[in-house]
Symmetry: C2
Subunit: 334 residues, 2 copies
């Protein structure tokens, strides 16, 4: 199996990507090979003499930046690590693609190159959110900000497959994010979606209010891409604001520093639970190929885990299973 | 000035409400009188002999519970403290109403009883969110989950008046919550709203992404009531999950307890910044009368501050100013 890896994508590229690739090779069986796409000289410098028959480089001359327009990447940056990597999958020169680069560009280029899985109306992006008692998938977090009820149903089905196969969690429970627990709560979109999910999904457990996102019973939380994106980014921003403020206050006084030292294991254990590096990435669901999107600030561990996740998506036939499952709910689209 | 106070509303009623009323009387000038609505015997017990010429009781026999349907309160609970209090304002027997009870019921009953301010399409609910560097208004947090661009414009105008008058902050900056900074980001609703706000509001500073909600320059953050409600409740839930988990871990070991003791001032200072009791409540904006909605778990301080806020809304002519301001933007509704 060959994984194409965008060596130039992400805040910590290429160092974190190259180190993550080396780590993935050492952790996975011999049937895994990695192709690093990016500037050959830069990658060689980071490799610092490391060689492996399972690791190769494809030289590319362009980079898709975080501010490049997602929809233009395919046309304007044809020799970028991002576009070339995705085209390797399209041309069956690689089995899957992994990138910590411009999320929108990975989504759009994957969609334009792979096309959609049969029956999929809109691709969707789920993220694994670690909580105190196991993790959940929040989906969609931005692929489709103007969702219809049927799109959210498909998100629920695709994210459930992801959770089932990749996280080894059978029959995940599905919850609909909403502003109240009762079926008649929320906007028209959410009232209609509630009825559709209830009719189509035996594992649907109902509406989940904002306050219960972190401690509800649902394994898969669905919403439209606008709400999901705002929630995800708000949570990230809030954690940053909080920890920066606490750190600044602790430096004010010697006794605070001692207190912080004593409490270090508590905070470390807590932070470990919420460490996205453990999960690394998430597949863009609904496209007819595997592209794993990794957090922009991914470190080597996140990159390594994203590569292993890509391998798992292929090994577990995620795409074919999604196709079969969506076929069972075709009637709901009417 | 007479404030009608729902003595039976909220998790800590009637104790917190009665204590809050006594506190408000002691903190405010002699032109403030309070009418407590609720079960006379229960209130008398809590008053425990306290009397004041500025405090009276109106006996009511029904209670609107947290699970009562908001839209039915007016019809099914006509002798509740909530409905009778709002009707006192309608009948000009009181200047304003304050409740920590069922938010939906206060909103619906106020709307049905007061009607809307002239030109208002939909009432809106803003909350004061304390941040590290001053506070902001997040609006709408649930009054109108199916908003149109013009509703969000009106929310921005009304919340700006609230911030200007009540928080004494002139010319607040308005931001639109969105999934990206560029004007073309977000759902159709948000793309259209961006253009409308840009055209109508000189203080509009653009889109604010989820990650910058807590540290952006905007004083007033607007969004539809669905997104705002989910955000608000998610933040509340997350803080609870976080603090409960940290507390549980600290109790594991003696050294952690010592560390926590040393760090207590840090956490206390931090918590004080985010203490909603300091602000207490928020007026339902757009209805033709003042109803202050206070957090369900409000303590005496929050109730007291809500009463003082009600007085300020009247003193500052918030309703009349909103009416005049909306008149200036009537062209935008076309």
């Amino acid at each position: 199996m060959i994984i194409a890896l965008d060596a130039m994508g992400g805040d910590n590229a290429p160092e974190a990507v190259v180190q993550g690739a080396i780590q993935a090779l050492s952790e996975s069986p011999s049937d895994l090979s990695i192709v690093l796409l990016g500037d050959e000289n830069t990658i060689d410098t980071v490799l610092d003499g490391f060689i492996s028959p399972r690791l190769s480089i494809i030289h590319t001359t362009q980079i898709v930046g975080m501010h490049d327009r997602a929809s233009k990447a395919l046309k304007t940056k044809p020799d970028s690590s991002l576009v070339r990597g995705i085209q390797m999958v399209t041309n069956k020169e690689a089995n899957a693609f992994v990138s910590a680069g411009n999320t929108g560009a990975v989504m759009t280029t994957s969609l334009l190159s792979y096309g959609r899985i049969k029956h999929v109306k809109r691709p969707t992006l789920g993220v694994y959110i670690p909580t105190l008692h196991g993790g959940k998938i929040l989906c969609d977090v931005g692929a489709n900000p103007d969702a219809k009820p049927y799109h959210i149903l498909q998100s629920a089905i695709m994210a459930s497959h992801y959770f089932d196969h990749v996280e080894n969690h059978k029959n995940p429970k599905v919850g609909l994010i909403n502003i109240g627990a009762e079926p008649n709560k929320g906007s028209e979109l959410y009232q209609e979606t509630y009825q559709l999910l209830k009719k189509e999904l035996p594992n649907f457990i109902g509406n989940i209010e904002g306050r219960h996102i972190m401690d509800c019973e649902a394994d898969v939380l669905v919403c439209d891409g606008f709400v999901g994106n705002i929630l995800l980014k708000f949570a990230e921003g809030w954690v940053n604001v909080f920890s920066n403020e606490i750190k600044a206050r602790i430096s004010d006084k010697f006794s605070y520093k001692i207190g912080a030292l004593l409490l270090k294991p508590v905070f470390k254990g807590f932070a470990k639970k919420f460490d996205y590096e453990e999960h690394g990435g998430t597949p863009l669901l609904g496209v007819n190929g595997v592209s794993i999107i990794t957090h922009g600030s991914a470190g080597p561990k996140a990159v390594c885990n994203s590569v292993l996740l890509a391998k798992k998506c292929i090994d577990e036939n995620l795409i074919e299973d999604i196709r079969i499952s969506l076929e069972e709910h075709l009637g709901a689209s009417a």
